[in-house]
């Protein structure tokens, strides 16, 4: 089992649940869309998976193990098995595309040769091979997101979480990025992609979890 939520609720303020009694489970290697309008709770659900927030109620299992938010060491270990792509890219402005994409690899014990070779290959593969030495401000939105995707998958994580990854790019770029996520999934990485762009979701025949005001509708 990749991920399971059991009666999970999340609230930031009393009497207001952002997520309300969510229960679902996902198998390893799958591609899942998480849809819903803005404010439906998509980002909050992803934040629970990558442990930026703790559930108010319920239990979450990831890779078959319960999440223990208070154990920082275990939390860090688990996060190294997850890749995250954000809507606002979150690239470090003073690092080049190559340095940004290589960052997660630098948290591992692999050598510099491998870091350089593997990151360059990956940037070529995502389509920004000719922009490796550019700083984020010199890249278009689509290019920045490709670098962010490369950074998210550079350590070959078991799970890739994407939070509105196409929110800041045009329609055709968004479609290309969706195909890129599909390709990554075919290479063995499970993908959970949160988006409000339902019309793009329909083009891919993948299971979707739909959130409506914090409640799950499969």
């Amino acid at each position: 089992m990749l991920l399971s939520f059991e009666n999970v609720s999340l609230s930031y303020a009393p009497n207001h649940n952002v997520l309300d009694n969510i229960t679902f489970s996902l198998v390893e290697g799958g591609f899942y869309f998480l849809t819903g309008t803005s404010g439906a709770g998509k980002s909050s659900l992803l934040r629970l998976i990558y442990q930026a927030d703790k559930p108010t109620k319920g239990q979450i299992h990831l890779f078959g193990k319960p999440l223990l938010p208070n154990n920082h060491k275990k939390q860090a270990e688990l996060r190294r098995k997850i890749g995250i792509v954000f809507q606002d890219f979150r690239l470090i402005p003073h690092l080049t595309a190559l340095e940004n994409a290589a960052l997660p690899l630098r948290l591992t014990d692999v050598g510099e040769d491998y870091i350089q070779r593997h990151t360059r290959e990956l940037l070529e593969w995502v389509g920004v091979g000719d922009r490796m030495d550019a700083k984020p401000e010199e890249l278009s939105g689509g290019e920045q997101q490709r670098v962010a995707i490369a950074r998210a998958v550079v350590t070959k994580p078991k799970l890739l979480l994407a939070d509105e990854p196409t929110g800041n790019v045009d329609e055709s770029t968004a479609l290309k990025l969706f195909h890129l996520f599909d390709e990554l999934n075919k290479l063995g990485t499970a993908v959970i992609l949160a988006t409000h762009q339902s019309h793009l979701v329909y083009k891919f025949h993948k299971p979707a979890l739909r959130l409506v005001q914090g409640r799950l509708k499969v």
């Binding site: 927030d53 920082h72 060491k73 860090a76 996060r79 190294r80 003073h94 960052l103 997660p104 948290l107």
Partner: protein, 297 residues
């Protein structure tokens, strides 16, 4: 683990926090080096002076005595013999008239006045090490020969000087301790400012699975690099200023009794200041960062 060397550079460089960090470390090292060097010189010099002075007594034979039948030279000769005969006395040496005039000259505008005055003769008496020889005993030995003899025991005023030196040493120690404390507080505040400026980067590193200790160690490496360069600069400026001050005041404070080995020990003690400051800045940076980033998501 090999995070990019310049990961936290923007906060350090572009927001001038690195400059503030370096300035504070440099200024603190300057103050501490100055205090340490001054304290080391004071302790060494006062020990050397005190060790010599506390065994000395000065016997003053007035120029005009009540024994008119005997010349001054004869009286000095006899007094010196009497002093040398005392078992606790190691040596008794009369000072020449020239030497006495040299000692008195700072108090006279016109040097010719000195030669026209009836100057007393001084005899330097050195006690044997550990001997109990009081000025009263010397007076009683010389009384039959010189009724109005005066004896100055240097051991009396060296005790007062030692008390003053101890007070100054404590003050110097307190200055160094307060400087170290100020360094800790200032480095801690600057580190907090840097971390606040780099909050996004640190949150991102957290989400990638970086552990706090790795972030803190990386930050510490960058901070200690800046601290070391600043500490060396502060030390060199302090060394220059201290040397210049000693050079300018060498007439007031005669430090010629200090040998090369004493100056070497002063240098070694002072050299510890920039090293200690770098270590303090390094450890403070690490602890501040660790405490702060534990509160980040």
């Amino acid at each position: 683990m090999s995070l990019p060397r310049h990961l936290f550079t923007p906060a350090f460089r572009y927001q001038h926090l690195g400059r503030s960090f370096a300035a504070i470390v440099g200024i603190m090292v300057f103050i501490a080096t100055f205090a340490t060097a001054a304290e080391a010189v004071l302790l060494t010099a006062s020990y050397l002076w005190g060790r010599t002075a506390e065994t000395l007594l000065t016997v003053e034979i007035p120029a005009t005595g009540d024994e008119a039948s005997m010349t001054q030279a004869e009286r000095i000769k006899q007094a010196t013999s009497l002093l040398r005969a005392i078992p606790e006395v190691s040596s008794a040496t009369p000072l020449s008239n020239d030497e006495v005039e040299r000692l008195l000259s700072p108090w006279f505008d016109k040097p010719e006045l000195l030669s026209s005055m009836p100057l007393p003769t001084l005899i330097d008496v050195e006690r044997k090490s550990g001997a109990d020889l009081s000025s009263a005993k010397i007076k009683s030995v010389l009384k039959p020969l010189v009724s109005d003899v005066r004896v100055n025991d240097h051991g009396t005023w060296t005790k007062d000087v030692w008390r003053l030196v101890r007070g100054l040493t404590l003050l110097g120690g307190l200055t160094i301790a307060l400087t170290a404390l100020t360094l800790v507080i200032a480095v801690s505040l600057i580190c907090r400012a840097v971390i606040a400026a780099e909050r996004e980067t640190i949150s991102l590193l957290h989400l990638m699975g970086t552990e706090n200790i790795d972030i803190a160690l990386h930050f510490q490496a960058q901070a200690s690099h800046i601290a070391f360069r600043a500490a060396v600069t502060g030390f060199l400026i302090a060394l220059f200023v201290t040397s210049a001050l000693f050079f300018m005041t060498h007439n007031l404070a005669n430090l010629s009794s200090l040998g090369w080995q004493h100056w070497a020990s002063v240098g070694i003690v002072s050299l510890l200041v920039p090293l200690c400051a770098t270590v303090i800045a390094m450890v403070t940076a690490r602890i501040s960062v660790m405490r702060l980033i534990e509160t980040f998501p």
